[in-house]
Symmetry: C2
Subunit: 326 residues, 2 copies
């Protein structure tokens, strides 16, 4: 039996080979070169793996599902291209973002085209239940758009609650992981029960992943993270940590946190103060608990599945994502 | 028997009623209000009508196909929102464009969401052959993106040929009309023959429509057009007229035309000169001939259909579009 890491490495490499060949000979170059550029930038290819393993968990062979796994990866890349415009981001995975390397029009259009190319690829692997699979995929896109809209809305709102934040990340991050697992299962004509458990595995994995992301921004080792910690504080992002701290704080400490909202971000020399405040208020511990709770829920849904190798992989995936340093 | 105008008016009004109600209660408002704004701006709703009538031509009732007709209208509105950003347009149908009324991020995201909402609606009317219909729809989106990319590319290229221009408008404009007719037929489980004829009707109608659009920009009556003529010349657009003139001109006249490319547009006081030059070089007559040729081809494909009322409507549609003053 291969180890999960071996499966991950082998499948990631196959997915990338297919992904890199996909648009090479397409024209017009003015459209397909930028699309190819983003697909070739490095990535974990996690969503594609989720489709493959979920399908395998329901008895489908990998080889019948690669196009669908490319589809979710292409869709994910569409969100990156358009989000980078909205977030005014210059770099992505160490490279210039698409709108910086090319221009705004090219980035908008490439993102649009990637949505259609994602559907094209998904359709290749659809058979009897195309309607069901396409509905799931489309619902995933709507959720991602709603989540991104809430995220942008929260940037200017001053009264965001933790509950609202959880709804936002459920839509912006978890919905896509949920969709990946669900279409993997649906394409394998799995039972309703198995589809539900895999979908909920994906959703809870996504939630754990995002809160872990919020945590890493403040507790990671800068060398391992590859960038300075406290980026979310500098940007004034209303993360799980920030909102929990705001809820728990009183007096001067609360005023300092409210200052981040008013000034739309903390200053570099305040990061250490806020890091210590987060520990003091117990929000680091609270976030870690939340990550564990979502991970446990994800694990629980796996227990209902039968294929041992897939289960083992999906459990390993949770642990790997939770233990990650960057 | 109702007149085509009566059918058009009645169905347009039904489509708009459904379209206007579609997003009213959806949240978050930050996403759905702008989506609703663009759907509620006036429009000919031509693409929705093409779906309905093509379906009827193949024996399907209107009531089983409204969601699909909404889908193409929603998709068309997505292209308007993103194109307006790329073209830096401030106004659309007399109202502020979406990125002007809201902001860039909202406009990008609303467009993205409209694509997904279009798929959602199309899926509602899909049954046995969902895969085929979805493929046609998706191919339409790819074509529109490729066409828009060529259009942007032509803005900076100086060596665009008439043949390339025709490929561009086939993708940017005609492909969507073709797709509308094709999915109308496919959703009615029409024969391969009928699907082909309706698709080619749509494509040729779209080509005639676009060249007529180029013509109107220079030969229309300003009062009827509702804006100054010569807008394409002012913007330096490489239209069918401009490229044909460039091909036919010699000496000083050719230099004047090349001047438009170099200066990225003509001056207001040159419009009358170029209008007269277009007549003199015979390109107005050439464009009119081209419009007639595409219209004839569209008509020819209708002759293969059986449903008289639909045929009559689709013929009327060509004539109305060709005779339009704005």
């Amino acid at each position: 039996m291969k180890t999960p890491q071996q499966i991950y490495d082998a499948e990631k490499s196959k997915i990338e080979k297919k992904l890199f060949a996909l648009l090479e000979k397409k024209s017009p170059k003015s459209l397909y070169e930028p699309c190819d550029y983003i697909l070739k930038s490095s990535g974990k290819r996690l969503r594609a793996l989720l489709v493959l393993i979920s399908a395998k968990a329901c008895g489908m062979e990998f080889k019948k599902i690669y196009n669908a796994s490319l589809a979710v990866e292409i869709l994910h890349n569409f969100t990156l291209v358009h989000d980078d415009i909205m977030d005014n981001a210059d770099k992505r995975r160490g490279l210039p973002t698409l709108h910086v390397k090319y221009d705004l029009s090219t980035a908008i259009l490439s993102g649009d085209n990637l949505i259609a190319i994602a559907y094209e690829n998904l359709l290749k692997d659809c058979n009897g239940n195309a309607k069901e699979v396409l509905k799931t995929f489309t619902h995933g896109i709507v959720e991602v758009c709603e989540g991104q809209s809430l995220d942008k809305e929260f940037e200017i709102r001053t009264d965001v609650t933790i509950k609202e934040y959880l709804v936002m990340i459920q839509k912006k991050t978890a919905a896509l992981a949920e969709m990946c697992c669900k279409i993997g299962a649906e394409l394998s004509s799995a039972s309703k029960e198995n589809i539900k458990h895999l979908a909920l595995y994906g959703r809870n994995l996504g939630m754990a992943f995002q809160i872990q992301d919020d945590l890493l921004d403040i507790i990671a080792d800068e060398k391992e993270l590859g960038k300075k910690i406290g980026g979310d504080l500098l940007e004034g992002k209303k993360t799980f940590l920030f909102l929990s701290a705001l809820e728990a704080a009183k007096g001067v400490e609360k005023q300092r946190l409210l200052g981040i909202i008013q000034n739309k971000g903390a200053k570099q020399n305040e990061i250490q103060y806020f890091k210590e405040l987060y520990y003091k208020l117990g929000v680091i511990e609270k976030a870690k608990k939340e990550v564990r709770a979502y991970s446990c829920k994800a694990m629980m849904h796996l227990n209902k599945l039968k294929d041992e190798e897939s289960k083992y992989f999906l459990k390993w995936l949770i642990e790997t994502l939770i233990d990650r340093k960057k």
